[in-house]
Amino acid sequence: MAFRLKLVPDETRFDFFRHQVLTFGFSVFLVVASVVLVLVQGLNFGIDFKGGTTIRTESTAALDVGAYRDALAPLNLGDVSITEVFDPTFAADQHVAMIRIQAQEGDEAITPEQMTAIEGALVGADAAVKIVSTESVGPKVSGELIWTAIWSVLAATVAILFYIWLRFEWQFSVGAVAALIHDIVVTVGIFSLFQIKFDLTIIAALLTILGYSINDTVVVFDRLRENLVKYKTMPLREVMNISVNETLSRTVMTSGTTLLALIALLVLGGDVIRGFVFAMTWGVVVGTYSSVFVAKNIVLFLGVDRNKEKKDPAAEFFTEKVSDADN
C-alpha cells in the first residue's frame, strides 16, 4: 500500500449536531458582532466608494512620513493620510508609501494642476521619490460604484436562491442563502475589525466567496438529496449527519487545495492585491465552516417534506418543457 496523505479517515461518524447550540450560536454571534462592528466602527472605504485620490510612491531613500506630510500641508488638500507599505517581495532599497487625499470639491477627480503641485512638493521632500501610480475617483462616480456593488451582491444572492430552489427544495435554498449571508457579513466584519481598505476588488472577492461557499453547500445538499431517497425512514438529522460525513473528505480536500493556492498568492502575490486575496482566503475558511455548520441547520429547522419524493425538481421541470415542445 502506497503512502497516502489522509486528512480525513475513510469513514467518519462525527455528530455535527452534537454541539449545534455552540457552533450555530458561534455563527450567530459572529454575524451579530460583525454587524455591530460595521455600525460602530464603520469600514475603511477606499476611494472607489468614498472618492478621493491615492498616490503610490517609491523611493530608494528611507521613508520619512513626517517630511511628506509637511511638504503636502501647504497645498490645502484637506484630509491627507500617509502610510508606509511593507512587503516581503520588495527590494531592500524599495520604500513604498501610500498617500491618500480626500475628495476635492465638485464632481471631478484630481486636477492636473493639483497633481503637479503634489509631485513637486514630494520631490522637494525626497529627491529620489517616484510616483508609481495614482488613482483618483470623483464623488459622483464613487456614489454610483457603491450602488453597483450592492446590486451585484444582491443579484448574485437572488440568482443563487432561485437556482437552488429550482434544483432542490425551497428549504435548501433558504439554508444556502442564510449561509451565504453569514459568509458575507462575517467577511465584511473582519474588514471592519482590522480596518482593511474596502474597495471594488473586495466586492469581487465577496462575490467569489459567494460562489465558493455555495459550491461547498451544494455538494453537501446534493448528497443529502441522494440520501433522503436512500434512507427513507431515518430521521432527517441522521441523514444530514451521514451526508456531511460522507462528503467531509471532499470538503477538506477542496478547501485544502484552494487555501494552498490562495496562501501562496497571499504571501507572494505582492501588496497590491493583498486585501483582495485576504478576503478570499478568509471567505474560503468561513464558507467551508458555514456549509457544514450553518446551511443544513437551517434546513433541519425548516424541515423537509419527504413524502413528495421529488428527486430532482429541475429534471422534472425540464422534461415537462421538452414534452410540451414535442406536442
Binding site: 470623483g138 440568482a159 437552488i164 469581487a204 465558493y212 459550491n215 494552498l260 493556492a261 483582495f276
Partner: protein, 554 residues
C-alpha cells in the same frame, strides 16, 4: 464500461493540443509581441526598419501568435472616465437659429412689428415681437423652422418646441431632438478623442462610450493620466469673431448677441465680440506648426472652400477693423485686417512656445470637441509597478500550482497525478482561450487563475472520493470508476453552475480589473469542468486498458 468512443478521444486530445498551442506564445511574450507589432507597423506604413524586420523574424509566422492582452494594471498606463457636457450643445444650436428666425419674422414685420432677441436661459431662445396681439402669427412663422426628428423613438416629433406667451416667442429643443443631439455629441466626441489619442501614437488605446454621456479612455504605456488629459481635455474650439469693442472686466454689459471674452494675457483686458462667429475650426482642412515673420512659433491653417469664402467675404468688408481669433473662450490674438484674405489660409500668432504651437496644430487638425468634459475618475499605473505585479503573480501561481500538485499526488497517488496533469492542461486552456478571444488579463485576473488552480481539482476530488466510496460497495474497479464519475456528476454540475452564476454577474456589473477577474473565472470554470471530467477520465481509461488492475489504489 470504461470505453470512450474513438471520436471523443480524438476530440479531447485535439482540444488539449489546441489549448497548449494557443497558450504557448504567451511563454515568449516580449518576442511574440515585438513580432506582432512589427507586422501591424508594416500594414500601416508599408515600410519596415531593420529592427522591425528582425523582430518579425524573431517568431515564425506559421506558429500561433495570439497573446493575452495585459490590462492597464499590469502593463502600466492611464485610465480616464470623462463626462461630456452634452447640454452645452443645446445653447450653441439655439443661438445658431437666431439669424434664420430673424429673417423669417422680418418678412412679416408689417403685421408682427419689430423683432428682437432678448436675454434667455441657456436652453432657450427668446424673441420679442412688437405686436403682442400677433403672437399666434409669429409662433406660426417660427414653427416653419422646425423639422421632424428622424429617430426610432421620436417618430412624429419635431426638433423644436415653439411656444408664444405675451409678446415673447420661446424656442426650445424637443425631448427627441435632445436625445438625438446627445447621441451625435457623444459620437463626435468619441471620434475626436480617438483621433487625438491616435495622433499621439500610443498603442492599442481603448476608447468607448459608457452610459449616456460618458467616455472611458484607457491608454497603455502613457506616462500619466495628466498627460492624457492635456491631450484630450482641451475642447480646441477655434472661432473667428468680429470685434465690437473693448471692456474693462468680464461683468460689463455686453448687449444681446454679444459676448465678452478675456484675452490670453491678463493685461490684454476683455474684448466685446459678436456672438456669431464668422468661421469656425470645423471649416479647417489643415493646421500645422509654423513661425510668424518675426520667427516666433505660430500655427498656420487652411480653410475648406465654404470657410474660405466666408472668411474672404468678411475680410473684404471689414478692412481696417480688428477681428478676434478665439480658442476655447479666450481671445488668443486680435489682429487688424490689413487686406482682403481670399486664399482661405492664414496664420495664428499668439504667445506660444514651440510645444504649444505643435499641440495646438494637432488639436486643430483632429477637430474640436463638440462640448467640454469633466474627468470623473482617473488612474495611472507606472510600468514598473505592473511588471512587479506580473512577477509576483507568476511566482505565486507557480508555488500554488506546485503545492496543489504535491497535495493531490500525496492524497490520491496515481490518480492525483492524473488530476495534476489535467490541472496543467487546464491552465494552458485558460491562457489559450484568453489569447484566442483577445481577453484582457488584469491583476485580479491573475488571482482568478490562482483561485482556479485551487478550485479546479474540486471536480476531480468529488469523483475520486466517490470512486473510493463505490469501491467499498461494488465489485471490480472498472465499475467503481464508472459509478464514481456518474454519481459525482450532479454535484459537479450544480456546484459549477452556481459559481458560474456569480462570475457572470461579476462580468456584467463589474468594470475594469474586476471584469478581468470575472473573465478568467468564467473561462476557468468551463475549462476545469472539461479537464476534470474528460481529460482525467481519458487518462484513467488509457491506464486502465493497459494495466487492467484488480484493485484500485486510491
Amino acid at each position: 464500461m470504461l470505453q470512450i468512443p474513438l471520436w471523443k478521444r480524438v476530440l479531447i486530445i485535439a482540444l488539449c493540443l489546441l489549448g497548449v498551442a494557443t497558450a504557448a506564445p504567451n511563454l515568449f511574450y516580449p518576442r511574440v509581441e515585438a513580432h506582432n507589432d512589427a507586422i501591424v507597423a508594416f500594414e500601416n506604413s508599408g515600410a519596415m526598419t531593420t529592427e522591425q524586420a528582425a523582430a518579425r523574424d524573431g517568431w515564425p509566422d506559421w506558429l500561433p501568435s495570439g497573446l493575452v492582452n495585459l490590462g492597464l494594471d499590469l502593463r502600466g498606463g492611464a485610465h480616464l472616465l470623462a463626462e461630456v457636457h452634452v447640454g452645452e450643445v443645446y445653447s450653441a444650436r439655439l443661438k445658431s437659429l437666431w439669424p434664420e428666425a430673424r429673417r423669417l419674422l422680418a418678412t412679416e414685420r408689417a403685421t408682427i412689428g419689430a423683432v428682437r432677441r432678448i436675454d434667455s436661459p441657456e436652453d432657450e431662445l427668446r424673441i420679442q415681437i412688437g405686436e403682442p396681439s400677433q403672437i399666434a402669427k409669429a409662433v406660426e412663422i417660427a414653427r416653419t423652422l422646425a423639422s421632424p426628428v428622424v429617430t426610432l423613438t421620436g417618430v412624429g416629433q419635431n426638433d423644436l418646441e415653439i411656444t408664444g406667451e405675451g409678446d415673447v416667442v420661446t424656442i426650445r429643443l424637443s425631448e427627441a431632438e435632445r436625445a438625438a443631439t446627445d447621441d451625435r455629441t457623444m459620437q463626435q466626441s468619441l471620434e475626436i478623442v480617438r483621433r487625438r489619442v491616435d495622433a499621439a501614437g500610443t498603442r492599442e488605446p481603448t476608447i468607448m462610450r459608457q452610459g449616456a454621456d460618458r467616455i472611458l479612455i484607457q491608454v497603455p504605456g502613457i506616462g500619466s493620466a495628466a498627460e492624457l488629459k492635456a491631450l484630450i481635455g482641451t475642447t480646441a474650439k477655434l472661432t473667428f469673431h468680429q470685434v465690437v469693442g473693448r471692456a474693462g472686466d468680464a461683468n460689463s454689459p455686453a448687449g444681446v448677441g454679444k459676448i465678452i471674452l478675456p484675452g490670453q494675457d491678463e493685461k490684454d483686458g476683455y474684448y466685446i465680440l459678436d456672438e456669431l462667429s464668422v468661421v469656425s475650426g470645423d471649416e479647417l482642412t489643415d493646421a500645422r506648426p509654423d513661425t510668424d515673420q518675426n520667427g516666433y512659433p505660430a500655427v498656420s491653417f487652411r480653410f475648406n472652400p465654404t470657410g474660405a469664402r466666408a472668411f474672404g467675404d468678411f475680410t473684404a468688408n471689414h478692412i481696417g477693423e480688428p477681428f478676434a481669433i478665439v480658442l476655447d473662450n479666450e481671445v488668443i490674438s486680435a489682429p487688424t485686417i490689413q487686406s482682403h484674405i481670399a486664399g482661405g489660409s492664414g496664420i495664428i500668432t499668439g504667445r506660444f512656445t514651440v510645444q504649444e504651437a505643435t499641440d495646438l496644430a494637432l488639436l486643430l487638425r483632429a477637430g474640436a470637441l463638440p462640448a467640454g468634459m469633466t474627468f470623473l475618475e482617473e488612474r495611472t499605473i507606472g510600468p514598473e509597478l505592473g511588471q512587479d505585479s506580473i512577477e509576483a503573480g507568476k511566482i505565486a501561481a507557480i508555488v500554488g500550482l506546485g503545492a496543489v500538485i504535491v497535495f493531490m499526488v500525496l492524497s490520491y497517488g496515481l490518480f492525483g497525478a492524473f488530476a495534476a496533469f489535467a490541472l496543467m492542461v487546464n491552465i494552458a486552456l485558460v491562457f489559450g482561450t484568453m489569447s484566442m478571444i483577445g481577453a484582457t488579463l488584469t491583476l485580479p485576473g491573475i488571482a482568478g487563475i490562482v483561485l482556479t488552480i485551487g478550485m479546479a481539482v474540486d471536480a476531480n476530488v468529488l469523483v475520486f472520493e466517490r470512486i473510493r466510496e463505490e469501491m467499498k460497495k461494488v465489485r471490480g474497479p472498472a465499475r467503481a470508476i464508472e459509478l464514481g464519475y456518474e454519481k459525482a456528476m450532479s454535484a459537479i454540475v450544480d456546484a459549477n453552475v452556481t459559481t458560474f452564476i456569480t462570475a457572470l454577474i461579476l462580468f456584467v456589473l463589474g468594470a475594469g480589473p474586476v471584469r478581468g477577474f470575472a473573465v478568467t473565472l468564467i473561462i476557468g470554470i468551463i475549462t476545469s469542468v472539461f479537464t476534470a471530467i474528460y481529460v482525467t477520465r481519458l487518462l484513467v481509461t488509457f491506464w486502465f486498458d493497459r494495466t487492467r488492475p484488480k484493485t484500485l489504489e486510491l
